[in-house]
């Protein structure tokens, strides 16, 4: 089997053209792209050497739901992505080779395409107790991640686990799970949030990198703005019911059957940035809210500890479930009232004494 990647030059050659034709083509491209003749060499080199972009996809502390989501993509479909657009050189979920053959593929890509490959990370990285909570091929995942990040051109962190630590980072984080950006610095990291992210969003980010050859614009949490700049609430089709004050009071009540707003069932749509209401899931079929369940905020860091899910604000840390700020507020309010009443009573007693004393003083004076 031919080990050398086929380049644009090879393509030209195999179509029966000469090297001269190829150089002519390159200078035309260069002129087209506005590059001076001295720069033509670079273009020649780029086209001569540019293969399908190699991708290393690492799997840490994960549920593989992000991989599963990725293969649900409808545009482009995933078969086309992996056959025509990228070279998925390492992913434990789909690759044919196992064991040391798999390790060899990984090493090969890391060496051969140093500085050129895209690193995709699914899952969190455990650093607890020296990383023993996730080992692959006898090495810690932390170690593998750092090695692979070293020569990566850019890093995509899939899902909540890689972007923010995910479910294993939820309190008490028994294994010391961390997000990619907490481990790796000095490389562009794109956090494609969600648990998992929407398939077409994942494919969209890959396509963006391939076609525009630059990192998409990111928000303050490192998420691509194209998909995470709006709250679920802003594009939710139940929003008119929110503004109208029409709320579902309990699952499957009359209001639920009419599609009212799920705010009172704990919908996190107002505090969650994702494109579920626009792109929707599984090629536009539906999204959580459309199917009657409130958003649980799966594209926000820390969402696992922001629960319980069926209240719109978090429970108060250290108190029982269902203890909201309101319950505590009312409690404090009542306590204040009682305190004031007590204070008022003692004040009055004191003041009466004072009056009696001054009366007495007056009497004494006279």
């Amino acid at each position: 089997m031919n080990e050398k990647p086929k380049t644009v030059y090879d393509d030209v050659k195999s179509n029966g053209h000469s090297r001269r034709d190829f150089l002519k083509f390159c200078s035309m491209m260069a002129a087209f792209m506005g590059i001076k003749s001295s720069g033509v060499g670079q273009v020649v080199e780029a086209l001569e050497t540019k293969p399908r972009i190699p991708i290393i996809w690492l799997h840490g502390q994960e549920c593989t739901g992000c991989s599963e989501s990725f293969i649900r993509s409808s545009h482009p479909i995933v078969a086309d992505i992996i056959l025509d657009k990228i070279s998925l050189d390492y992913t434990e979920t789909l690759m044919a080779a196992s064991g040391h053959q798999a390790e060899a593929s990984l090493k090969q890509t890391m060496e051969k395409y140093k500085g050129e490959y895209l690193l995709i990370v699914e899952g969190a990285t455990t650093v607890g107790d020296g990383g023993v909570y996730c080992c692959i091929g006898g090495k810690t995942f932390e170690n593998r991640l750092k090695e692979a990040a070293e020569g990566a051109k850019a890093i995509i962190a899939w899902g909540n686990c890689a972007s923010a630590g995910g479910v294993q980072k939820a309190n008490p984080n028994p294994t010391g799970a961390k997000a990619v950006h907490e481990i790796i610095s000095g490389k562009p990291i794109i956090n494609v949030q969600g648990c998992p992210p929407i398939a077409e969003v994942m494919a969209g980010v890959v396509v963006h990198l391939l076609v525009f050859e630059r990192i998409p614009q990111l928000d303050a949490h490192g998420r691509p703005k194209a998909f995470y700049s709006r709250r679920v609430h802003d594009t939710c089709y139940r929003r008119p019911n929110f503004d109208a004050g029409l709320f579902v009071e309990s699952f499957d009540d009359e209001n639920a059957k009419r599609g009212y707003c799920l705010y009172k069932l704990g919908c996190k749509g107002p505090v969650t940035y994702n494109t579920c209401g626009v792109i929707k899931w599984n090629n536009g079929v539906s999204f959580p809210i459309q199917s009657g369940h409130p958003c649980i905020g799966c594209s926000e860091a820390n969402f696992w500890d922001n629960g319980p899910f069926y209240q719109h604000l978090s429970q108060f840390p250290g108190f029982g479930i269902e203890t909201t700020a309101d319950k505590i507020g009312v409690g404090l309010g009542v306590a204040t009232g009682v305190g004031i009443a007590a204070h008022a009573v003692t004040t009055n007693i004191r003041k009466r004494k004072l009056i009696q004393k001054s009366k007495k003083d007056d009497d004494d004076d006279s």
């Binding site: 609430h233 109208a244 004050g245």
Partner: protein, 231 residues
């Protein structure tokens, strides 16, 4: 602006200038409105059933009132900050920031007198006493936080440039939910502050008879010529 009128044995002192009084009442009003509308936003009641969204807008209205009051509250507060640099000595900023030892001594005195009621000694400050000052200091910090969280979460739902100035604050506290949570909890701070504050104002009036209550209306306080007293 400060003047003392001699009317033995009681002096009348002009403490609160008109802008401070105006600020105070606008602030009180906006906070009451913000607490009521905010509470409703946090836990809307269910009043409608079997109706269509296009026929109603009550929740939108509540939110609109909240945001409008939020703007009033904020700019009123900004004005008060300004007045803290140009107003009379009772309204100056340094009253509120306990940097001097004397202020801490007085705080302790007031705690002993007013709250624990173990000591009877008049409090000398003519503006607020130092405990009140530090309470207001915290209140002002709460104002700042409430504005940052309020406008921070508002940034996501507004097209205006102004709230966007606050959007940096939200990721700083960990995201919209955390910001909302802080915003919601602070509401209770204001409610409880208001209860205690109003009580204390009347209490001081009752105990000291200096006209504290009405001072926020007319600006004048009554002060005995020889400041002394005993239990």
């Amino acid at each position: 602006m400060e003047e003392t009128v001699h009317k033995s044995p009681i002096k009348i002192k002009y403490i609160w200038e008109l802008p401070v009084r105006f600020y105070h009442w606008l602030n009180a009003l906006s906070i009451v409105v913000l607490c009521i509308t905010g509470y409703i936003i946090g836990d809307p009641f269910a009043i409608q059933k079997g109706t269509e969204a296009y026929m109603n807008y009550w929740f939108g209205t509540v939110r609109f009132v909240h945001f409008a009051a939020g703007y009033i509250f904020f700019f009123n507060f900004v004005f008060r900050l300004y007045w803290g640099f140009v107003g009379n000595k009772y309204s100056r900023w340094y009253n509120y920031v306990p940097l001097k030892k004397a202020q801490w001594v007085e705080i302790w005195d007031v705690i002993k007198t007013d709250i624990l009621q173990i000591k009877c000694k008049p409090i000398h400050s003519l503006g607020h006493n130092a405990l009140a000052d530090i309470t207001y200091f915290f209140t002002f910090i709460a104002f700042v936080l409430q504005s940052l969280t309020g406008f921070g979460i508002y940034a996501a739902m507004s097209n205006s440039w102004f709230p966007k100035l606050f959007s940096w604050f939200v990721p700083l506290v960990g995201g919209d939910l955390a910001a909302r949570q802080i915003h919601h909890i602070l509401m209770w701070f204001f409610i409880i502050f208001a209860i205690i504050h109003v009580y204390l104002v009347f209490y001081h009036d009752y105990i000291e008879r200096r006209g504290v209550t009405s001072s926020m209306i007319g600006g004048w306080k009554f002060v005995e010529s020889e400041e002394e007293g005993e239990c």
